[in-house]
């Protein structure tokens, strides 16, 4: 550490931009170096686990790279898996900036999907007259309103009734899945879906198609746009600034005259709307109808993505790509190494624990804090 410190000071004379740049890099790199180190430690721990089972960790990581990122085909598979994770992670990251741990995005995803399917059922007759885009807008609005109200209710209960948001959102995820099953097997069921109860399928020409030149649907673009917009909202607007103040200290924010309640409502509702949009995209671009496949665990993997990205909306994009790749390689690992599909779950759990543990190292290293460099010298 001291070596870098003297280097930084040595560059002070002559070059005015030099030390400022070095200090800027030093400050910024803490948020990159620590998570990367944590991922490496997590992978190392997982290697030990795999080695204990008598399999070669090198084979495993080789397959992981090959299955997730090795070819254009696998990259497209990874991107398709990353798409819902982007939106699911935003459902965790936005409330997290307000200091809320919302982990029930799964409920908003499934209800968003059901609401989108219901909207499609209502809007389909009008589509002969209007373009299919009308249908997608109606579905997206329905999904976002359903998801937004669901997680918005979590925020409402948190602020106005002091109900812990972590537990209430999780309970509501179970309730949401039960509601989805009720609708899909009851009022919205398509009588022709026998083995797997589903809502009436969208006509093939009314599905959201693929991005030109790729085998990945437009949901990926929607997710990336949502992440960028969320970043702008958080970092460049006064609402995002107010949210971060409220997340740091509610009392201070209230003394400053910030309306913390509406802020919490707005951010949780927006977070839920993104999750609901993820459900809509699953229906309109992947499944074609709402059914039990909506509860595929994206909401839970999204938690991991958001924590790995330290709730930074832009960082969510590469992290979702990484985890999408790990999930995409699951099938290959299962076939080649004869490991159960839960292998990916174990790896995710290990990564998650170590990432959270790495929080303890922020601010501990002198190298990332230029203010401390001079004091020692």
């Amino acid at each position: 550490m001291t070596v870098e410190a003297t280097d930084a000071q040595a560059s002070i004379p002559g070059d005015k931009g030099g030390p400022a740049l070095v200090e800027w890099i030093a400050r910024r790199s803490e948020g990159i170096v620590i998570p990367l180190a944590a991922i490496l430690v997590g992978l190392a721990a997982f290697s030990v686990f795999v080695a204990f089972l008598g399999k070669s960790p090198f084979d495993l990581f080789g397959l992981m790279v090959k299955g997730g990122f090795g070819s254009w085909f696998s990259i497209q598979n990874t991107l398709a898996r990353a798409a819902p994770l982007l939106l699911a992670a935003l459902c965790v990251a936005l409330p997290a900036r307000l200091g809320l741990v919302v982990i029930g995005g799964e409920g908003a995803i499934v209800l968003g999907g059901v609401a989108a399917a219901a909207a499609a059922a209502i809007a389909l007759p009008a589509v002969g007259i209007l373009p299919p885009a009308f249908l997608w807008v109606a579905m997206a609005l329905a999904g976002m309103v359903a998801g937004g109200m669901w997680i918005g209710l979590v925020g409402f209960l948190r602020h106005y009734r002091a109900v812990n948001e972590t537990i209430s959102s999780l309970l509501m995820a179970y309730i949401g899945i039960a509601l989805m099953n009720n609708f899909v097997e009851g009022p919205l069921r398509d009588p022709s879906s026998l083995n797997k109860p589903s809502t009436a399928p969208l006509p093939a020409d009314h599905m959201i198609g693929n991005i030109p030149g790729m085998d990945v649907h437009w949901g990926l673009v929607a997710g990336i746009v949502a992440c960028v917009l969320s970043w702008v909202l958080m970092e460049k607007t006064r609402w995002g600034f107010a949210a971060r103040i409220a997340g740091g200290n509610v009392r201070a924010a209230q003394i400053q005259g910030l309306a913390v309640g509406p802020l919490i409502l707005a951010f949780t509702a927006l977070a839920g709307a993104f999750a609901g949009l993820a459900g809509m995209i699953e229906v309109a671009a992947v499944q074609g109808s709402a059914n039990a496949s909506l509860a595929a665990g994206y909401g839970y993997t999204g938690i991991l993505v958001a924590f790995l990205a330290r709730h930074n909306p832009l960082a969510i994009i590469p992290v979702a790509f990484l985890l999408g790749g790990i999930e995409a390689s699951g099938g290959l690992i299962q076939r080649r190494l004869e490991l159960p599909d839960a292998t990916v779950l174990v790896l995710q759990g290990m990564l998650f624990i170590i990432i959270l543990f790495s929080e303890t190292y922020y601010g501990r290293f002198r190298i990332f804090n230029p203010d401390l460099w001079k004091r020692r010298a």
Binding site: V101, I103, L157, H159, Y160, R161, A162, V163, N164, T166, I167, S168, L170, L171, M172, Y174, I175, A178, L179, N181, N182, E185, G186, Y300, I303, L304, F307, L339, P340, D341, A342, T343, V344, L345, V346, L347, Q348, G349, M350, F352, I353, I355, L356, F357, E359, T360, Y362
Partner: protein, 308 residues
Amino acid sequence: MAATEIGLWGVPLAILAGAIRVSTPFIFVSLGEAITERSGRINLGLEGTLVFGAMIAYAIAYLTGSPWLGVLAAMASGAVFGLFHGWICKFPKVNDIAIGIAMMQFGLGMAFFFGKAFIQPVAPHLPAIGFGWWSSVPQVRAALDVNVLFLVGIALAIALYWAFRNTRIGLVIRVVGDSSDAARAMGLNPDAVRLLATAAGGALAAAGGAYLSLYYPGSWTEGISSGQGLMAVALVIFARWNPLGCLAAAILFGGAGALGPALQSVGVTGGYYLFYAAPYVLTLVIMIVTSSPGRAVAGAPGELSITR
């Protein structure tokens, strides 16, 4: 024959039977979580511990032929999970709630990973005691077949209630939970106390899981838990961290969980999934009713992050 004789009485009877049968895992998980939370930590990972406990109990019971060895193995594994959670949370800036979520994912992953081989085999069940010998109605007899673990759970709740008030260990846990500073001033090590309290909580949660796989529903599947480990956290808050309250709440939840199947058995099939959601709705409503803004929940340990 008897089924038609008792008619609609089958519903309350089935709810009673369900309350006894379904509540046992709730009793164990909530008592475990009560110990942990009384020490000032919250362990949201008990869901993972419970499912891993269910898997280990089933596997050991199948391999050794003794369901009780299975329960012991589950408790040991649960204690290890708890120790890990307790150890990792002692570091500064590590969030116990988030670590709990991660531990949940890890526990589920490990359970599914090692449990694949035990989905097919049949393991011996835990014994039950028939309290329905006085009745000639088979439903009543079935309803009053009480598992030994249910009775152990009741005894444990009473013992814990007494121990929190009257023993040195109980006092130490409460002091640590209410104020780390006060505990340090008394020469106690809060981290060590919380470590042990989390381990005890994990062991009890895993015992609850063992009940699931070794008695009711009585087999190991990946969908064995319906969130009991998570609901227990809310249940403990509802019970005001009081072990006897946990017992009552657990029985209430068991009854709510049995509502759907009970109605289905007498022919009410509509809205099955909505009845299935009854325990979650009940938990949520209870949380809304019992919490209020502007003040901490009465009886809450002062160091608990979730009520601050």
